[in-house]
């Protein structure tokens, strides 16, 4: 299984929180060691005298980025399980702009002010108190303009999705942009800060070269495709498929449809003609060849209580779709046992116009004929859960994933 590992399931909450605490410790130490506890050092950035903020920030971003996308390319890290800040374009830009104003007046950002206060800087302490006040005021006033706060919501949108470019190309472009900015910063420091660039360590040029090489390597490594990702999950997931732990009885699907506490997403992967003839009420039509493209959207469903059920006429196409979704780390995916044919066998017994075909059909064919393409308007498309008392072994187990709602900064 690729990283990140399910820490809460593996270690339990206290140890998981200890890991977060250690990461925070390293974060605080590095901020302090870079001089970010000193407001005048931070503010100097905006008068071009000392570009430490930009250098540290962008070095950190590009170093982390190259390491992340190298790991993703090698299949060590599953990018679908990495938290990517959702894009809320307009509130993000306005909020960022307001933060910039606060930065130049107050001299810190929230992370650096914590380190400043704890190393005895009184201006840092006042900034933290101000920050807490601002956060409090936001919570009390966001209700007045919630619509704006949620505007420009593009969800999980990466620069690769936006520009339709491969990861490696974007990573390389960003690295070269950063190197250009570092060069520009040093020129500004020479002009405005009277810094002697000759005294700067030569090693930084080697570092720049290393970053550029790393970025170009990401292009050559490429991305694992769905089949390669499935190969990583197969040792764990193939037995579940063989032991029929993920094929749910029509009765269990009916119960799930009636359960308000589940966010049930039914995906019908058959042809459009079959879908139009008959489908379960509420099932979305998603042809097999479009399943992979739909993954980013599916991952936006709330992680905690969403259950996906894929279905085809029997189980062949549904199992293919299941493998794609599992390989792309969609959680809680199940297959409708026996497919739509089995569903009809159970629920269409009182509808004489839905008749079995005289001879058994081939694989992935409907085993019933319909008088008209009524879609979900047959009784069997929406059976009442109270009228059916079916016996089955319940198989849906909600695998609660890492809580993504708090990602990034909270």
């Amino acid at each position: 299984m690729p990283f990140p590992l399910p820490l809460e399931t593996l270690l339990g909450k206290p140890l998981m929180y200890l890991i977060f605490g250690i990461i925070g410790f390293a974060f605080g130490s590095v901020l302090e060691m870079s001089g970010f506890a000193i407001s005048t050092k931070l503010a100097a950035q905006f008068y071009f005298k000392e570009m430490t903020v930009l250098k540290v920030m962008f070095t950190a971003i590009v170093v982390a980025m190259v390491l992340i996308f190298t790991s993703v390319g090698l299949g060590l890290l599953d990018f679908n399980q990495v938290w990517v800040n959702p894009t809320y374009l307009w509130s993000g830009i306005l909020g960022g702009f307001i933060m910039g104003i606060g930065f130049i007046i107050g001299g810190f950002c929230p992370g650096t002010s914590l380190v400043s206060a704890v190393t005895g800087k009184l201006d840092g302490l006042f900034f933290v108190l101000g920050g807490l006040t601002g956060i409090f005021l936001f919570g009390e006033t966001v209700g007045f303009y919630e619509e704006f706060w949620n505007s420009g919501n593009y969800g999980r949108l990466t620069i690769m999705d936006w520009l339709k470019l491969p990861n490696g190309v974007v990573v390389t472009l960003v690295v070269f942009m950063a190197l250009f900015m570092f060069w520009g910063s040093e020129q500004l420091e020479r002009i405005f800060g009277k810094r002697n660039l000759k005294a700067e360590p030569r090693l930084r040029l080697a570092g720049a070269g290393l970053l550029a090489l790393g970025a170009i390597a990401v292009i050559f490594i490429g991305q694992p495709d769905t089949a390669e990702k499935w190969a990583l999950f197969a040792p764990v997931k193939e037995p579940a498929l063989q032991e029929r732990q993920v094929q749910i009885h029509p009765g269990e699907l009916l119960a799930a449809m009636a359960n308000d506490r589940l966010n049930l997403v039914m995906l019908d992967v058959r042809s459009e003609a079959d879908y139009n003839l008959f489908h379960i009420r509420g099932a979305r039509h998603l042809p097999l060849e479009q399943v992979k493209a739909a993954v980013p959207k599916l991952l936006l469903e709330p992680a905690q209580n969403t259950v996906y059920v894929v279905m085809s006429n029997d189980e062949v196409a549904a199992t293919e779709a299941w493998k794609i979704l599992v390989a792309e780390s969609v959680p809680n995916v199940y297959i409708l046992e026996g497919g739509i044919n089995n569903w009809l066998k159970v629920f269409a017994v009182e509808e004489p116009e839905i008749a079995p075909t005289p001879t058994p059909p081939g694989p992935e064919r409907l085993a019933y004929t319909f008088p008209a393409a009524l879609g979900a308007r047959y009784d069997a498309a929406d059976p009442s859960p109270h009228e059916w008392n079916l016996e089955y072994t319940p198989k849906i187990k909600l695998q609660v994933k890492r809580d993504k709602s708090g990602g990034g900064c909270g």
């Binding site: 990283f3 605490g21 605080g28 302090e32 170093v63 390491l67 990517v84 009184l122 930084r204 909270g410």
Partner: protein, 188 residues
């Protein structure tokens, strides 16, 4: 006995505050280390770094103690503290306390624990405190509007190439550079 007691407290003070001060890391080296920490955070946990979200949860925790009915009527606060939800039960809380501890230990080890106020030469200490408070309040408000601060949006979202985080980052630098000239007396 008295002098010994005094001597001991002096020793403690000296041990904390009077260590030889060491120079800061070169910005590129500091940045590279920060990048490795950020990468490890994503690699091990799937989450990046954060700060303002943790402060937010601390505030909501206090609000939930003082006025739980108020929290229950506010959709934004409800997400963190509604019903029996504990706003402190989140990964960002140990991270914030870790950040505080890390900053303190590093400041101590490098002889940089000093009670001090850093400011431009042209303003009084009190003005600096006031401005730090006001700037902090503006920053805190903006950070929550943008759903993250420099750590959670710019660093973390930047490294995983989120479009919104990059737009946010340019907005932060834009806002600060735009106003820098008008508040130059604070810093120069």
């Amino acid at each position: 006995m008295k002098t010994r007691g005094k001597g001991r407290s002096l020793n403690l003070k000296a041990a904390l505050f009077n260590r030889p001060e060491k120079p800061y890391l070169h910005p590129y080296l500091g940045g590279a280390l920060l990048g490795v920490v950020l990468f490890l955070a994503f690699f091990l946990t799937g989450n990046g770094l954060g700060a303002s979200g943790g402060l937010n949860r601390l505030i909501v925790f206090v609000q939930d103690q003082v006025a739980p009915e108020h929290v229950d009527r506010n959709a934004y606060l409800l997400k963190m503290a509604g019903g029996d939800k504990n706003p402190l039960d989140d990964w960002i809380i140990p991270m914030v306390f870790g950040t505080l501890a890390g900053g303190f230990v590093s400041g101590w080890r490098h002889g940089r624990l000093k009670i001090a106020t850093h400011k431009g030469p042209g303003i009084s200490v009190r003005t600096r405190w006031l401005m730090a408070f006001v700037g902090g309040a503006i920053m805190g408000y903006g950070a929550r509007m943008a759903r993250g601060c420099t750590s959670g949006q710019a660093l973390s979202g930047g490294a995983v190439l989120s479009v919104g985080s990059w737009a946010f980052m340019f907005a932060v630098f834009g806002g600060a550079y735009l106003l820098a000239y008008f508040v130059r007396k604070l810093w120069n």
